[in-house]
Subunit: 392 residues, 2 copies
């Protein structure tokens, strides 16, 4: 029995994701594909366009054999923490391979960069300092320092891939990393005419009311699932939907509250608090706070921490704890569940059965997410405790 | 120089308030009437219909000589804390009299009840227990036990008056309490046909878009002030305007957050948290949580504590501190300010001059209140630090 893990967001699931799963299965010869997927909030610091139960169903209908939720505090960390938590989940699930999409599938290149980044040699440190001095952002400077001749390795998915490789090494896991070359639109591309439009492009199409275009970029089972949910009252969720709650949280908490948040240091709390005096929401806040030093995504994530109350202390504790259980959101066929329960190294929590394993932070995040919805069941609370395991 | 103090909310200011100030001046022979007024949130646990600067201007145009703000943590406590904090402010301002409206102006009756309540004799305790046993609410049982033959003393304003008398006694203040018989609509009356419609009736008229009726119940200077502000983009504020922020605060914080709030004990946090699973806002929450034991206004206040993050600890500290300064919102003529500065026992803070004296909680409350507004200056932040002293 060969098991291949994929760390994902599926925000939303599209043709490129289906293709990635197909290739992962083919190239690793896996019998089972396990996807560790973000819940209702994503690594870019945004709410997912559809909730985790709908995104789970889409993935299961289009190639995944099991979907396991990434804990909230893993899902919303920057690349290193995200990768490290994701690898821990895939490893705990008992997988043999970790397969990721990447702008390059040159494994040796990726591994040598990962080694370079892990080691932080004197040469690396010198180049990093020079590059930062010339005005590069930290992630860019780091890539240039580690491998100045491989610009393709500085692309978003490859960076994440390198983080996966580093995390596997660091944790002593026996997972075999495996890069699959990405097809179609680049990660941030908004192009809908590509044969594989990106998730960014699809979210934009939904935001502009062009849902038929969006459905065309998804496998049929996924499009049908979302179409049905929309007809039942589901609302696609866009980043600005919690603007008032965010402003309220900042106004109520003040700089002291912001200072305690994860990844806030060196006066960033004051920049944000000051910007909140005139900014009308998340978008304006990011624009006002952003500098070369504070990248868009970092601010976006910090604002999510402000919305959800995620502190330095919570993240440090979470990272120290490791993967204590696996939260199975859904499986393709009940046989998969029995395989999972045999191979996994951590207890499985399925659906409504075991409320005790869900952290309060994750439950609260789902409850806050539900503020974006008008109709049951989407606006229901405590869905983490009541939704059943999805079996397709 | 005789100075008379009035503890008020003016939410909004109306003909009955003007009449009360007129009588207070006449009966006490006061040269100066100082009103200690709630800021943007009131004792019923609701946002004020108009902000404190507009309500200050109204009061000054219609009889008050000075308006001093009640600190937030005084303004939103139950009768005893509200009265005690209010008396402390009026006393610190150097007033000779404290004049309050009451359903009865029988001073001896009020004072003997106050004495009875303060003493809590064995007879009082026995009657209180019996009355509670027969199913009466606590405030009602307390009044019945203290003075079973005086139903008029159990009316809302008289209860508050008795609390003022108790607070004066307790604090050893030399303030002379003075009851003025209320005219017109009862405190909670929604009747707009009375010659003196209540603030409740006026707020209802605004809510129903019948603003001309509302203006008719106000002195001309007050109606003109509000009319002009509305034409400049001011929005009247109604209790449900922060429903989403409230639900968000409860969902984010959970029972642990609620348990730490002022006046929450014995599992009330769980009742509220449970009710928040289905309730769509403040109104539905109060309805679901209310019992004979937990009165409407108490729940309403606790929900305000949840919105503003007001904990037991904060209130205890505030009450222990006493009145360290007086925040003067406005005066009628600059002469009043110089008189105030001569007679007051605490330093005056006027307008934007002294930011250091404003507690962060009060500033945050004003900033949260501003979420209800769309147009500057009403939606501006840090108005506590930037608005100038109002002089009419």
């Amino acid at each position: 029995m060969r098991i291949c893990g994929i760390i994902s967001e599926y925000n939303p699931f599209h043709l490129g994701h289906e293709e990635h799963i197909r290739k992962a299965r083919e190239k690793t010869g896996a019998d089972i594909i396990i996807c560790a997927m973000s819940g209702n909030f994503t690594q870019r610091g945004e709410p997912a366009i559809f909730d985790k139960w709908i995104r789970t169903r889409c993935a299961l209908l289009c190639g995944a054999d099991a979907v396991i939720e990434l804990p909230l505090l893993t899902a919303v960390q920057s690349a290193e923490g995200f990768a490290s938590g994701g690898v821990s989940v895939i490893d705990a699930a008992g997988a043999d391979f970790l397969c990721f999409g990447s702008e390059t599938d040159d494994k040796e290149l990726l591994e040598s960069i990962a080694a370079g980044l892990s080691e932080e040699t004197a040469g690396f440190k010198k180049l990093l300092k020079e590059s930062l001095g010339s005005g590069d952002s930290f992630p860019k400077a780091r890539m240039k320092a580690a491998f100045p001749d491989a610009p393709e390795a500085a692309c978003p998915n490859a960076i994440l891939g390198i983080e996966y490789i580093k995390a596997i090494k660091r944790s002593g896991s026996s997972l075999k990393p495996f890069a699959v070359k990405r097809v179609g639109g680049a990660y941030h591309s908004e192009d809908m005419d590509s044969p594989f439009p990106s998730a960014t492009a699809i979210r934009k199409a939904f935001r502009e009311g062009k849902s038929s275009g969006a459905f065309g970029a998804m496998p049929a089972g996924c499009a049908q699932t979302i179409e049905r949910a929309l007809s039942e009252g589901l609302r696609p969720v866009f980043p600005g939907v919690f603007d008032r709650e965010l402003l309220y949280a900042i106004r109520r908490g003040g700089p002291g509250y912001l200072r305690a948040l994860h990844d806030v240091s060196e006066g960033l709390e004051n920049r944000i608090y000051k910007a909140a005096e005139t900014a009308n929401g998340r978008g304006e806040l990011i624009k006002a706070v952003k500098t070369k030093r504070y990248a868009y995504t970092r601010i976006s994530r910090v604002l999510l921490y402000a919305l959800l109350g995620i502190t330095k202390e919570m993240v440090a504790e979470h990272n120290a704890r490791g993967t204590a259980f696996l939260r199975v959101l859904g499986v393709r066929g009940e046989r998969v569940l029995s395989i999972l329960s045999r191979v996994s190294k951590a207890p499985l929590i399925c659906g409504s059965a075991a409320s005790s394993g869900y952290p309060g932070t994750d439950i609260a995040a789902s409850d806050i997410y539900a503020l974006s919805q008008d109709s049951p069941p989407f606006r229901n609370l405590k869905r983490d405790l009541t939704e059943k395991l999805i079996v397709v």
